[in-house]
Symmetry: C2
Subunit: 320 residues, 2 copies
């Protein structure tokens, strides 16, 4: 019997994508980038029943119409804002993603970013390497985190994990979310992100991406956070008004920012590189071997289950 065809899209590390196993089950087509789709012959494309998708390119009806047999897009990652869900629904294509397995890593990195900014970790390293420790003595004093008050914008899976960790640092938790969540009574809900930013020392952004949250963290939110406040973003660059953020950082309207995500990655705004009050990382929230292996496994299992006619493990919420 002929194997079912699937299309693997994106650049995967070896541990993320077990090609041998895919080939045991499927006829595998591969693309580094979706924009090369026309390099695959039309008859081959017409047989593709599932896409294992990891990529930053847009996946919408333009692609879907080339794939008439497509039943599933199995996204690698928890963010799927590059996939046009309405188009997928219209084409009767299920979309799955890989939630939960990456929440721990992203939350861990969120805390690391907070300390990167507050404890001046880059300056500390440089204080040793430049000889300043020897010549000038102690490095300049920095900022305490334990015992502070922190706010979470977007209390989904990752926001929840961030809050749980922060609590162990004797930190009081406030949050904004579209609706009040069924969480610890000690966590204080705010209906407005500006009001949230006003009462907290430090602010984490863990919103979903996409058009619905574009520029959600506005200049008003940053002003409310104020000159002693640290902003951490591990969600998507789009959730923050980056023009406002750069101005706030340059004019020291806020204390600093820990950023794993940016607009226009990887071609990020060069102004970030001259700032001393940022701690930046190259969108590596889920970038551990352990987690990427788990994400690849979940992506594979979604394909396996769905194409066998069983229930996919983790469809995106819009598909429920």
């Amino acid at each position: 019997m002929e194997k079912v065809s699937i299309l693997i899209v994106g650049k995967y590390a070896e541990i993320e994508c077990n090609l041998d196993r895919f080939r045991d089950h499927f006829n595998v087509l591969k693309l580094s980038d979706l924009s090369d789709i026309n390099k695959i012959d039309e008859p081959e494309l017409k047989k593709v029943q599932a896409i294992a998708f990891k990529g930053h390119s847009t996946l919408n009806s333009n692609t879907l119409k080339k794939l008439p047999s497509l039943r599933l897009i199995s996204n690698f990652g928890v963010g799927y804002e590059t996939i046009n869900v309405a188009d997928a629904k219209a084409a009767n294509v299920l979309v799955t993603y890989t939630p939960d397995v990456l929440s721990d890593d992203v939350a861990d990195l969120a805390l690391a970013l907070l300390f990167g900014v507050s404890r001046h970790l880059l300056q500390g390293d440089d204080w040793i390497r430049s000889g300043s420790w020897r010549e000038k003595g102690e490095m300049p004093l920095n900022k305490k985190i334990s015992g502070s008050t922190c706010g979470i914008i977007g209390l989904g899976r990752i926001g929840f994990e961030i809050a749980k960790r922060l609590e162990s640092f004797k930190i009081k938790i406030h949050y904004y979310s579209r609706s009040r969540k069924n969480v610890s009574q000690k966590w204080i809900y705010h209906k407005s992100p500006v009001n949230l930013a006003k009462v907290v020392d430090n602010l984490f952004v863990s919103l979903v991406g996409g058009e619905g949250t574009r520029g959600f963290v506005s200049s008003e939110v940053l002003d409310a956070l104020g000159p002693r406040g640290i902003l951490v973003n591990i969600s998507r660059g789009s959730t923050i008004n980056e023009t406002a953020l750069l101005e706030a950082l340059e004019k020291k309207k806020i204390y600093g920012a820990g950023l794993d995500v940016f607009e226009n990655e990887p071609n990020i705004n060069a102004r970030f590189l001259s700032l001393k009050n940022v701690f930046i990382q190259p969108h590596q929230g889920s970038c551990t071997r352990e987690t990427r292996k788990a994400m690849g496994e979940l992506q594979f299992q979604n394909i396996l289950e769905c194409l066998a006619g069983r229930k996919a493990l983790t469809p995106i919420p819009e598909m429920n």
Copy 2:
């Protein structure tokens, strides 16, 4: 009435030492370093009743015999291994220190160091600045921390705070201490640091300094930790056999090390600077404005209480 004389020793940031308030209460003598003590006239020295001590120079009978009226050494910090306690006792001089107020900051930094190593934070920053993100895509995968097993060598105040924080990262806690502690039943006690290192993924050193713990973390402990293990030291450089540590790092016998403390600070071994698997900081464990202010306050209150004939707030354990 003539004010009581006190001697302030060390280099203090402004926030650490409220000189005006000291002068309200006392006749204040000052030295940046104890080795300059002979610059103060003998009659002045003979009147000194307390030292506000912040310093890395040795304070023993050589100094004490110049200060016949001395009743108190009020140390700034929780480590006081440069003060010869036996000599102080013999001269009937009380020694106080500043515990508790700095435990949060040191524990915070311990976790930051762990993530610095595991999540390759310096490489992440460099991945952006060097253009690699743009040219090569994602940075190389790194190492997950949440859900791992961690060991604490020395479960004092700071070790306890580290463990409490780690628990919120779904981390299982093991510890070594001279005796079993009255802590969570879930924390597993080990009588031997080698056995502890064998069973954990990552290892924190939070021992007291001084001769009693010199080289306590031996090559055997490092071998037991193994090539996937991260070592974090926020105690004193002396607690680790640094020759063994450098060899372990260079030969990748362990995964990496997060180090806030070193032998011979600030003239640390240059071999640390060429290693890619370390995350280093210039002994800044308690280096936040909030904590240094609190330490200065406690140092002052110990002097105020003691010289007024009342009970000092925080005498070192050997004085109880």
